[in-house]
Amino acid sequence: MHIDDEQKLIKACMRNDRTAQKTLYDRFAPFMMAIAIRYVGDDDTAQDVVQEAFIKVFSSLNQYTAKGSLEGWVRRITINSALEYLRSKNIFNSIDDDEVTQIPTMNTSAIEKISADELMDIIASLPTGYRTVFNMYAVEGYSHKEIAQIMGIQESSSRSQYIRAKLLIQKKLEKYL
């Protein structure tokens, strides 16, 4: 979409133009759904997260500064909505920080072989703590320090959760080799 068109679309959405809002929804809903499933693990909960995220998007469009891309902005809101949901379930409180001595390496060739849907299924099947840390570190690119701050856990916990996630993923990837 051209930048001018995007600006027009945003302005129309801010005027509460339902057609424009539906256009924005059609454009971003599948993308947001993919993020939500990756974080919360199941479709029904992901729909709730996407619904919450869209309401935030539409009610906060006046705060979108157009410094970054609209997609990046929407992505961040979706992730925050997902994290908010997980926090509301007190999932992060149960994360332990037992040290993991084994440092696994994921098989890159196996990841290349599988489809995005299969990779999504593998990530979605991880326990919530592992999944959240893995998503934030490997997919979104947060540092463990930042993940620790966002989730309210120790930095070492974030590291151990990530290692455990890698171990589990590696096990699941073996099926595809």
């Binding site: 993919a34 729909q47 619904q51 906060s60 006046n62 890159t108 849907d117 999504m120 490997a138 966002i150």
Partner: protein, 390 residues
């Protein structure tokens, strides 16, 4: 190395990944959508309010000046002295003169009062005061002459019934004498703009946008806190007592500031709003007057009191879910010194429009709030406004 490659592969694979959404999701979302909210662009809103206020004041001033005042009558007198041709104003002067001294048929259509009426008698101070008081009392009760036949002249008199001429007295030698001191008194009264007067001005001020980066540490985080202070907007109303070219003034001001803040790791992103009420105090000096332009300078200080403030976390901020929005108030008083250089242009006799570049220095007050004045104490701004006299 393998780790980085694996992560890159995962990111690439998922970056374009989309999942089909159920058909009823949009219905669910649209049902839960909040009602439309009107978001005022604050600067635009206050700017428009200031512009409307200026227009209303200007209209009131113009309306009140439609009735000829004593200042205008003085101009008529002054015009008579230099251009005594048969203008409407000259007729008024003549009629008023006839009214004052009916027994003397004075012809004043071709010469000025000064040339027409020779000076002979200089009254004593007591005489002058008595004459002056009588004259001013008469001038307040002056009505058009009922015996005037000429309709145009009558209308002129009606329209300019405040028009005055200084008393012209008849001496022992049957000559007419013009009271120079009374004229001077009128001149002083009319010349408020140059003499003592009270000046009332309204203006709107704005400054430049500033970006300030502050290194900070918070718990285990070391990073930069960036504040982008948007153009602040100030509205002022000032009352100034003029003593010739000098003046002292006091007033009230309202300042609205908006800033965007951001931590370098995007953990915190949001908008800060501050509202201040200020009390300016200053002394001014008019150093030049060229045609309809007046140039002046003013130096003074201002006390600003924070009345309200708020932080609104942006939805993309990681802290959005914890903070969202909260209000605060900075109890520290903000003192500043200001130097203004102004140029005013006379639109009408009672209304000037002016522009003032302002250089201000805001003194440190140990406030924890990152305002523009806190982060950039030396500021340059520009004010636009109108002023009037009474």
């Amino acid at each position: 190395m393998d780790e980085k490659k694996t992560i890159k592969t995962i990111q690439d694979k998922l970056s374009q990944h989309r999942v089909a959404v159920p058909d009823n999701l949009w219905e669910r979302i649209s049902e839960n959508m909040p009602s439309p909210i009107v978001w005022y662009k604050h600067r635009t809103f206050y700017g428009a309010a200031a512009a409307i206020a200026c227009i209303v004041i200007a209209t009131c001033c113009l309306y009140t000046t439609n009735n000829t005042s004593i200042q205008e009558s003085e101009q008529l007198i002054c015009t008579n002295r230099t251009q005594p041709q048969d203008s409407a104003c000259n007729r008024v002067t003549c009629l008023a003169t006839e009214n004052n001294i009916e027994e003397n048929k004075i012809e004043t259509t071709t010469q000025s009062l000064h040339t027409n009426v020779p000076k002979k008698h200089t009254p004593s101070k007591t005489e002058t005061n008595t004459q002056l008081n009588t004259f001013i009392a008469n001038s307040n009760n002056n009505t058009p002459n009922n015996n005037i036949k000429d309709k145009t002249a009558t209308d002129n008199v009606k329209n300019n019934y405040n028009a005055q001429t200084p008393p012209i007295t008849s001496g022992d030698d049957n000559e007419l004498y013009y009271d120079d001191m009374a004229l001077k008194a009128i001149e002083e009264k009319c010349n408020k703009r140059k003499g003592n007067s009270v000046l009332l001005s309204f203006d709107a001020t704005t400054s430049v946008e500033r970006k300030v980066v502050t290194p900070m540490s918070f718990r285990c985080y070391e990073g930069d806190l960036t504040f982008i202070h948007k153009m602040p907007f100030t509205m002022r109303a000032l009352v100034e007592k003029r003593f010739g070219r000098w003046g002292v003034g006091v007033g009230a001001s309202y300042t609205y500031m908006v800033s965007d803040y951001e931590l370098s790791n995007k953990m915190r992103m949001g908008k800060q709003e501050l509202h201040y009420i200020g009390i300016p105090l200053y002394a001014s000096f008019e150093f030049a007057r060229v045609g309809k332009f007046a140039f002046y300078t003013a130096i003074g200080g201002q006390l600003d009191i924070n009345t309200a403030g708020s932080h609104k976390e942006l939805p993309e901020s990681c802290a959005y879910k914890y903070f969202d929005e909260w209000d605060f108030r900075d109890k520290k008083l903000q003192f500043s010194a200001q130097l203004r250089l102004g140029a005013a242009f006379e639109i009408t006799k009672h209304l000037d429009v002016f522009v003032e570049p302002i250089l201000g220095y805001y003194f440190a007050n140990d406030s924890k709030i990152h305002s523009l004045w806190h982060d950039a104490p030396l500021s340059a701004s520009i004010a636009l406004g109108i002023r009037t006299w009474f």
